[in-house]
Symmetry: C2
């Protein structure tokens, strides 16, 4: 098989945007995703800040992005890349099903958010959320728990409080002092429970009656695919042109760090594709 111009790893917003722009530049593009579309996106509540499509559901936007990329001529493979090697100027990506060869790679696997609390995955989009900016407004005047696995989570809790949610904060790290006006419970979450939507967060210190559970956790190491890839605090290190430390390898979206936002991922995917196009022109 002839080498592809561009292999995109990840079929979320960043990867699909990269595919769309690379196709506009007339490059051969294959997108490898382990899901048809990003389940994180598909299960999102209404998205209010993807400019031009106010109030769109995650599922509808996911479908639109995918069909846009397909109509632009991107090819898809439902597969999971396990590792990538470089040989004689070509990248070889080993999927579970196939091996892919390409002159450039855009990494857009997302920031792996492994659901680890029983009920978390089940209630995602029905009370469980990973994004206070996206979903916070729904919880104005309601009781929500914020489970923070890293100190940055506190800012999300404070934002929810500011917009009028009644919050309880469960730090899963050593929180030095209780921030004024925040109810802190030092407890380990055991399960998210409910019926149609979330009703209860079970912890090792007792049950909390809540309508929402926000979870903010560290991403998994992002260098599993390419051992030489340089990271920055666990995320793939990129410059303003989405270039990684490896020639011909670019990264976009949540895998490059926060903020984990849709429009940002789409924009970075576009820039990564254009950088890949420039790389192809020069190589």
């Amino acid at each position: 098989m002839e080498a592809l111009d561009l292999l995109v790893v990840g079929a979320g917003p960043a990867g699909l945007s990269a595919a769309i722009t690379a196709r506009r530049r007339n490059k051969t593009v294959l997108v490898v995703g382990k899901e048809e579309t990003s389940s994180k996106l598909t299960r999102a509540h209404r998205i209010e800040n993807y400019p031009g499509l106010p109030g769109i559901t995650g599922a509808e936007l996911a479908a639109r992005l995918r069909s846009h990329a397909q109509e632009a001529g991107a090819v898809f493979s439902l597969d999971e890349v396990q590792g990538i090697t470089m040989e004689e100027g070509l990248y070889r990506a080993f999927g579970r099903k196939e091996t892919y060869t390409a002159r450039t790679v855009v990494l857009a696997p997302g920031a792996s958010q492994h659901a680890s609390i029983p009920g978390e995955e089940e209630f995602l989009g029905r009370g469980v959320s990973y994004c206070a900016t996206c979903d916070g407004m729904i919880y104005r005047g309601r009781r929500v728990a914020v489970i923070g696995y890293l100190p940055e989570a506190l800012a999300e809790a404070l934002f929810l409080k500011e917009i009028g949610a009644e919050i309880v904060y469960l730090p899963q790290y050593r929180l030095p002092e209780t921030p004024p006006g925040v109810r802190v419970i030092r407890a380990k979450p055991l399960a998210v429970l409910g019926e149609e939507t979330v009703k209860l967060l079970r912890t090792d210190q007792g049950d909390l009656e809540v309508e929402g559970v926000f979870i903010e956790r560290e991403a998994l190491p992002a260098d599993a695919l390419l051992p030489d890839l340089a990271l920055d605090e666990g995320f793939i290190r990129v410059d303003r042109f989405q270039r990684t430390n490896l020639p011909g390898v670019f990264a976009a979206g949540d895998c490059t760090g926060k903020p984990w936002q849709l429009a940002r991922a789409v924009g970075e995917g576009q820039v990564a594709a254009l950088s890949a196009v420039d790389f192809l022109a020069g190589s």
Copy 2:
């Protein structure tokens, strides 16, 4: 008047995206633009790589972005900011009509593309283009002139050639050698002429029959508004969080350099707004 949380300078895609996300974070936002919507966007041909809205016209997308920001609660002022000063932690922006006071600023004025060739402005969107990626496909099999004011323009010409346009390249700088397969004419453009659409590029070496004219020129200095703003090759210098060298001042979109692309501008606007929100939380 109470100080705004955020003043956005520029009502193009980057500025409107910043306004939408800042409103989602419950901040007061005013957008100052010298046009109702970006005329560069409004007059764009079909836009094929804004993910989720394939084939949308520039005018329709401009209208969608503006109404999205308005519905989100952003306030608009049709005015032109002439300069910004900082005093006691507040930024004061002097418009032609009014003075605006804000705790943070997102600069998104675009990369000023001053139309300087007679007929250029008149035929923008009807044969004149600033973006080969956006509009190139329309000119497959057609004759186009590419006027390059900077060496990077050559890559645009080569891309147009690659996708099947018949190009003639007019370098407005010292081009060291003629690239193979490219027709180069060392001539000064005098006027773009046509009827409904472009028919002719008049130069000081004679007339060229073309259906498209691509123009690639340097942006104007971006530090006119804030003299202490650090630049990088004429563009506003920002980091991955769209922070400039000035505290509380962020920049997004074309004013921060290439690539000049819509989704990228929208993504950067979102990141700039979230950085402004973080700044407000910490100040």
